[in-house]
């Protein structure tokens, strides 16, 4: 370029509207009096448009099915990741936890007097305090998930309130025992505070209420 005042960098950034106010003033003033730089500026702008056309010229086959699949996946909440990937080494430990819970339940049923810790409506929730440990956050007590470490709560925990279906709880073995003759509707859900770690993974849960 023959002009010494406006280099290529300034012209490109001028086309991209990426100049500082001082640079903008300089470029505007110079373009106002330099025909050669005006031509150069126009060339950069033209060349930039041609590059954009070359990119936007690429055909993209639209498929409405892609959007529908995405929407369906969102609606089904399929993307709520499992709380942890299970490493082979963890399987036996988890199996051990399952056995411990089962044993505690069995002992509780056989030896303990019927114990309803709390009731609301027609449902009680049975607590296996002997199995679970607790995490205290902001004065709220969360039952630690068996694979979380209650001694090491996340540095920036968050609490998210969400509805958890009773049927899902049942699927994973949480006992919600009716204390009256009313049969618990499996479509019901409970409101729970879930403690999330810094990585977004659940660390503990605290059931807030149920219907």
């Amino acid at each position: 370029m023959n002009c010494e005042r406006l280099d290529w960098d300034l012209l490109v950034r001028a086309v991209d509207k990426e100049l500082s106010p001082a640079e903008e003033q300089l470029v505007e003033t110079h373009l106002g009096k330099c025909a050669q730089c005006r031509r150069e500026f126009a060339e950069v702008a033209h060349f930039s448009r041609k590059i954009a056309e070359a990119v936007n010229d690429i055909a993209v086959v639209e498929d409405s099915g892609d959007r529908e699949r995405l929407a369906a996946q969102i609606n089904r909440h399929e993307l709520l990741k499992p709380v942890r990937q299970i490493a082979p080494a963890q399987v036996m430990r988890r199996f051990g936890w399952g056995m411990a819970i089962a044993a505690t339940l069995a002992l509780g049923i056989i030896f303990a007097p019927k114990q309803s810790n709390s009731t609301s409506g027609n449902v009680s929730v049975r607590q296996q305090a002997s199995v679970a440990s607790a995490i205290e956050v902001d004065g709220e007590t969360f039952v630690a998930l068996p694979y979380s470490n209650p001694d090491l709560p996340a540095s920036a925990p968050r609490i998210v309130q969400m509805q958890v279906p009773v049927s899902s709880l049942a699927d994973i073995g949480i006992a919600m025992t009716p204390v009256s003759n009313v049969v618990l509707n499996q479509d019901r859900s409970v409101l729970a505070d879930v403690l999330l770690g810094a990585d977004g993974q659940p660390l503990g849960v605290h059931v807030v209420s149920w219907e």
């Binding site: 290529w8 490109v12 991209d16 990426e18 950069v44 930039s48 041609k50 590059i51 954009a52 070359a54 990119v55 936007n56 010229d57 690429i58 055909a59 993209v60 086959v61 639209e62 892609d66 959007r67 995405l70 996946q73 969102i74 909440h77 993307l79 990741k81 499992p82 709380v83 942890r84 936890w97 819970i101 810790n117 709390s118 929730v125 607590q127 305090a129 679970a132 607790a134 709220e140 969360f142 039952v143 998930l145 068996p146 998210v160 969400m162 958890v164 279906p165 899902s168 709880l169 699927d171 994973i172 073995g173 949480i174 859900s189 999330l196 977004g200 849960v205 605290h206 059931v207 807030v208």
Partner: protein, 185 residues
């Protein structure tokens, strides 16, 4: 809340009934607006169109997870381009050059402007675009990424966020990329 309300949660991951749908709407609107530019961007990185489509689809699923986890929402466009860019690089690393595309061979989209041109002019335009894409394939990866994101109307700071570069490096990549393209054309 007394201890009596606590549940013992076993080891199996659980399902959540609802966490609100505000982000779902946001995500679908975002999809409508960005999926085509994203696919073009991935294609310009040398990925074949079918794989580009998969990468973009997967990236929106990752965005969904990001939103579910309460992730940062201030610059989702840059976040999405970063995810797409990294996925494209991973795919390239995994299948080498076997499934990459020659940029000059990309099928041009039909455009209203093209219909107004004569057949000869249209052919020349197509050839010119193909030459430009071929030349872009000879830029460094960083230059090409910056130049292509610039064509999508992204500001330098957005490009910087998407590619994890400084704003000044983005400016340099664009400047040198355009210079190189001008030499090649």
């Amino acid at each position: 809340m007394d201890q009596g309300n606590l549940l013992t949660i076993p080891v199996v991951p659980w399902k959540v009934e609802s966490v609100g749908n505000s982000h779902s709407q946001l995500l679908l609107e975002f999809y409508d607006r960005e999926q085509t530019p994203l696919r073009r961007y991935v294609t310009m990185l040398g990925i074949d169109p079918e794989t580009a489509r998969d990468i973009v689809q997967e990236s929106f699923l990752k965005l969904h997870e990001h939103l579910l986890a309460g992730g940062e929402q201030s610059n989702l466009r840059a976040w999405l381009y970063r995810v797409v860019h990294n996925s494209a690089r991973n795919r390239q690393a995994s299948f080498g050059v076997k499934k990459t595309s020659r940029l000059e061979d990309m099928t041009p989209a039909a455009s209203p402007v093209a219909r107004e041109l004569t057949a000869e002019e249209e052919l020349l335009e197509k050839e010119r675009s193909a030459r430009l894409r071929q030349a872009m394939g000879r830029l460094s990866e960083a230059q090409r990424a910056c130049v292509v994101l610039r064509t999508q109307g992204m500001k330098y700071r957005e490009i910087a966020a998407a590619l994890d570069l400084s704003v000044s490096t983005v400016g340099e990549n664009i400047q040198r990329g355009l210079e190189r393209l001008r030499e090649l054309i």
